[in-house]
């Protein structure tokens, strides 16, 4: 991205060409690698989603076998979570955290490189698993035994891929947390940090706390599969439900790992385009921390139907509903930031506003699902699918889009094509709702998730949903075009291309030089 800057500053000795990217210890290079990796994985997992929607366009089995359909849903989920959203957010952290806190780079640049470069190893394991006898893992992204215990060689590859992805996340988080705690510019106290940095500090803590738990869970799967242990087998005194507990002890904080950095991005963008400081900065920080703490205490709301004492159901129901309080604080603050601001609606702002509206819908359906008696009806239906796509696509993914458009001028030195950006936004926003809103109705009417065929009364809504899906998929090509165009050229971006933007990243030129803040700035 910054070839010019590189030629000036890099000079002799450093590898060039491909090897520059393989050996790089520069946070901006590594951020770029993370973001491109996420983009490639997005195309891969996105095409799996297209195949899923094509199969579900009408009842009956048309395109793929049921077993391959299950492989598609499993890989789509695993790759979107671990290969797209998480790497993209880490890419943002790499690019932006040092720029935002006035640090010369990440704390451990070589480990930073390794955190990225083990991701392709995990991707290779997942992709080759598709071509092995029996196909890829087909037990769902949640890997539940006993089904997961019964699969073939691909299941073991999936376990190891998760180990590697976890190692990458832990190393990345150690780096981010140390950078934030140890490398802030003089005067940048914790409560002066941009909110994006705060959300990543808390996210990194969550990752360090729960990725090892996932590693433990899949290790038990590995030994149950291959080494005769009985953790998840009642014959040996174990219990398949034990896996669900351990998995969701990881899994629930994981969904906040996916969304907290998105909160951070949106909290940078809305004040910029409202030309007002963020409303309730301190309450945003405390709300983020509260969400993180609560995330450890609610995991079994994913398991209301496995059988649980009524006391347990009540506890997990009320604890889950409690999360709506800090989340509500955030939504209120974003709206209050916009209230009586001098609003303009550039593409990042459009995506940020769509985030606030649509993520809130996803949050509300989450509240519906939190009610144990209702959840028993809706568990494993399309209502759940609609819920988590509202929080992950119009939540996390839209925030990633907003962030890319927002910081692209800083990264490339060029303005992106605003017209195409707006087209990308409106097409995505509308087709997203066409795609996922009807799935609420399907779920309420009883359509189960993870099936390639369905009863005929679900046909119309499935067709509508699939059409929305195809439009949504095609619209994302636009984004690729906008980004590529912006890298190759376009109107020169100023150091601060957005009038209302605040923060250290806008004090360096655009594109940001290869090395920034070698002498730390002083923050007043």
């Amino acid at each position: 991205m910054q070839a010019h800057a590189l030629e000036h500053e890099h000079g002799h000795g450093a590898p060039s060409g491909l090897m520059r990217w393989v050996t790089t210890t520069n946070h901006k290079d590594i951020g770029t690698l993370y973001l491109w990796f996420a983009a490639v994985m997005f195309l891969l997992a996105g095409s799996m989603a297209m195949a899923i929607r094509a199969e579900l366009f009408q009842p009956g089995l048309q395109l793929v076998s049921p077993d391959f359909f299950n492989q598609l849903t499993t890989l789509h989920g695993l790759i979107m979570v671990f290969g797209v959203i998480m790497p993209a957010m880490t890419g943002f952290a790499n690019w932006q955290v040092p720029l935002m806190i006035g640090a010369p780079d990440m704390a451990f640049p070589r480990m930073n490189n390794w955190s990225f470069w083990i991701l392709p190893a995990a991707a290779i394991l997942l992709v080759i698993s598709l071509f092995l006898p029996g196909g890829a893992a087909a037990a769902g992204w949640t890997l539940y035994p006993p089904l997961f215990i019964q699969g073939g060689i691909s299941y073991d590859l999936t376990i190891f891929a998760i180990h590697i992805l976890g190692a990458s996340s832990i190393m990345g988080s150690l780096n981010i947390i140390t950078t934030i705690l140890n490398m802030r510019a003089p005067g940048m106290t914790l409560m002066k940090m941009p909110l994006f940095v705060w959300t990543w500090l808390i996210t990194a803590f969550l990752l360090i706390a729960v990725m090892p738990v996932l590693a433990g869970a899949v290790t038990m799967l590995l030994t149950d599969r291959n080494f005769d242990t009985h953790f998840f087998n009642a014959a040996g005194g174990g219990d398949p439900v034990l896996f669900q507990h351990v998995f969701w002890f990881f899994g629930h904080p994981e969904v906040y790992i996916l969304i907290l950095p998105a909160f951070g991005i949106v909290s940078q963008i809305i004040p910029t385009f409202a030309r007002k400081p963020l409303f309730g900065y301190a309450s945003m920080v405390y709300a983020t921390a509260s969400i993180a703490i609560l995330s450890f205490l609610v995991w079994a709301h994913h398991m209301f139907t496995v059988g649980m004492p009524a006391v347990g159901q009540l506890y997990f129901m009320y604890a889950t509903m409690l999360i709506a309080v800090p989340t509500g604080v955030k939504v209120f603050n974003w709206v209050a930031t916009m209230w009586r601001g001098s609003l303009t609606f550039e593409t990042p702002m459009l995506f940020a506003i769509a985030f606030v509206a649509l993520f809130t819908i996803g949050g509300f359906t989450g509240l519906v699902l939190a009610m144990a008696p209702v959840d028993i009806q809706l568990h494993d239906t399309y209502y759940v699918v609609a819920h988590f796509h509202y929080v992950l696509v119009s939540g996390a993914l839209f925030a990633i889009y907003a962030g890319v458009y927002y910081w692209l001028p800083k990264w490339t030195g060029h303005m992106y094509n605003e017209t195409l950006g707006k087209w990308h936004f409106w097409l995505s926003m509308i087709s997203f709702n066409v795609l996922f809103f009807p799935q609420h109705f399907l779920g309420l009417a009883g359509m189960p998730r993870r099936i390639p065929d369905y009863a005929v009364q679900f046909t119309e809504f499935n067709m509508i949903s699939s059409i929305g899906g195809f439009v949504f998929g095609a619209s994302q090509i636009l984004m690729l075009i906008v980004v590529l165009q912006c890298i190759r050229g376009g109107r020169k971006a100023e150091a601060k291309p957005w009038e209302g933007a605040q923060g250290l990243e806008w004090t360096v030129p655009s594109p940001a030089p290869y090395h920034t803040f070698e002498t730390p700035p002083v923050v007043k």
């Binding site: 050996t23 988080s173 150690l174 490398m183 706390a209 738990v213 040996g236």
Partner: protein, 283 residues
């Protein structure tokens, strides 16, 4: 341009070690999978991955040690290492928490539930209790008692915590003899622990019928003690490394975070053992 001139904070030049480490992990995981499924050549891939990993660790840590000895790391780098090592140990604590959680869950929930009226039809006559191999496994086993080797091992690990601290006092006072003697004692105690643990496993497999397959008792016993033993092994290797560095005259009374990091890790392994001794062996 490389790194030394960046306003104090040392930024390393581009490096080939990470990509070698990635290739090593790919080889290890792919090789392990092929090996488990008895695909020809899998063992060799596994071995190659392992060899590459060992080479990478030697090369990478060697470079870090060299940079440290050249005085490239300032106070801020040192405090970064401290933060990061602390959080890394926290991640290790959470890894063990998953297995301790599994142990507590089976003891308090799943095993008692298997004896309930609901399950009486499926598993008639199962009485539960702990230790248990579960209702469906016929081969009996004897559990590992706490007051033989495990009690000695507790004493050994606690003593090694004392010796490593004694070595640290020596380092801080500039008393190299005390430093080296303390480290040698710690390494020796670590190796003694591992030897006794290996003997205990042999005893379990050959005489007690206690194996990985011995129901959920065997599974939790071997996973918890096994991962702990692996961490003791790593800790001992780390101790041997800083022993070698001490012999080579590295470390000053003021600057020796590598030593402290290893001793933190060693104390962490010690604390995990106390949890194991109480909840796996004793209660």
């Amino acid at each position: 341009m490389s790194a030394q001139s960046h306003g104090g904070y040392y930024l390393p030049a581009p490096s080939y070690w990470p990509i070698l480490g990635s290739a090593a992990l790919l080889g290890l995981t792919l090789g392990a999978t092929l090996f488990i499924h008895q695909v020809a050549g899998g063992g060799w891939v596994l071995l190659a991955g392992f060899a590459l990993l060992v080479w990478m660790l030697f090369g990478w840590f060697g470079q870090v040690i060299g940079e440290s000895e050249q005085g490239l790391y300032n106070q801020q780098v040192d405090s970064g290492f401290r933060w990061s090592m602390g959080w890394f140990i926290f991640s290790e604590v959470m890894f063990f928490a998953a297995f301790f959680g599994a142990l507590f869950y089976v003891r308090t929930l799943s095993v008692p539930d298997l004896t309930s009226a609901n399950n009486a039809l499926l598993w008639p006559g199962y009485t539960g209790g702990w230790p248990t191999q579960g209702p469906g496994i016929k081969e009996a086993f004897e559990p590992m008692g706490a007051w033989g080797i495990p009690a000695w091992n507790t004493l050994i690990l606690l003593s090694s915590g004392v010796t490593v601290t004694w070595a640290h006092w020596g380092l801080k006072r500039g008393n190299r003899t005390q430093l080296i003697a303390g480290l040698i004692a710690t390494v020796a105690l670590g190796l003694l622990f591992l030897g006794l643990q290996a003997y205990e496993y042999h005893h379990a497999y050959t005489e007690l019928g206690l194996t990985l397959g011995a129901g959920v008792y065997g599974a939790t016993f071997f996973m918890l003690t096994g991962f702990h033993g692996l961490h003791v092994t790593l800790g001992t290797i780390m101790l041997i490394t800083i022993l070698g560095r001490s012999l080579a005259g590295h470390f000053t009374p003021e600057r020796h975070f590598a030593f402290e990091a290893v001793s933190w890790y060693w104390h962490f392994v010690d604390v995990v053992w106390l949890g194991l001794f109480i909840f796996v062996y004793w209660l």
